[in-house]
């Protein structure tokens, strides 16, 4: 079972990397972009028996290590 974790800065916390990418896209004349957020994706290969226990385990991982919840939000997707 695999889990995909996406970690992004919280809304309201300035994402400087996103701003820089947005600016670069503007320079390349891609003018249809409202906003850019840059985050990271962490893919975990798990031994969990079922989706619920996988989700519970990955939530714990996010809270303790994978995300800094002072500034970051995370989203977990379980894929088989």
């Amino acid at each position: 079972m695999k889990a995909i974790v996406n970690v992004f800065l919280k809304q309201g916390v300035l994402d400087s990397q996103g701003k820089a990418v947005h600016h670069a896209l503007d320079s390349l004349k891609f003018d249809g972009v409202n906003d850019v957020r840059v985050g990271k994706q962490i893919v975990l290969d798990l031994t969990a028996a079922d989706e619920a226990s996988a989700k519970a385990e990955v939530t714990e991982m996010c809270e303790s290590l994978l995300a800094n919840t002072v500034i970051e939000d995370y989203a977990i997707e379980i894929v088989s």
Partner: protein, 224 residues
Amino acid sequence: MKVSIIQFPGTNCEYDTQYAFEKLGATTEIVWHKETSIAADTDLVVVAGGFSYGDYLRSGAIARFSPVMQAVEAHAARGGKVLGICNGFQVLTESRLLPGALKRNEHLHFISRHHHLKVVGNENTFLQKLNKGDVVNIPIAHHDGNYYIDPEGLKALYDNDQVLLHYCDSEGNVSNPNGSVDAIAGVCNADKNVFGLMPHPERAMESILGSADGKAMLEGFFAS
């Protein structure tokens, strides 16, 4: 005065820190991160600067789980003094020993130069040798020094005199190199025994190096 200096894989300021505190008359010990205890007679734990665990994932995120950090947390919980410098500050915020978090510098550059700082709070051990409003010249060297805390947290910091230093120019006017909230360069915890700052006072111990202003900061720990 006994100072225990924490060393993770990737720490690179442990010997500068040792030099600085020994120059001021302390006895020091460098403590490898696999240790599960620190010397019982430790007056001050310093989490030194560098790139703990290569700053993989996030600065300071992995170091937080090193065995020695449990001993550091226990020392802090007993009221023992802890100072985190640069990467050490990041480690202490990741450990939740200090409020807030450090983000990538606003302009995304690694900054390495001398910068002025204004003393905001001196009602604490660390900055007691300085006066409020004093301007000191201390090197900064960081990529993730952009201090963030939410508005509610920021208010609590000011209400409790936990903001230690603002980035400024030589005249004391706000000059923010990295986008930190309110140009904050350093903070302490509510109990005022855990301190963290991005600048490096241990690199400003001799005028031949550009500044000796770090001495007045570190000397605070020697006064009762």
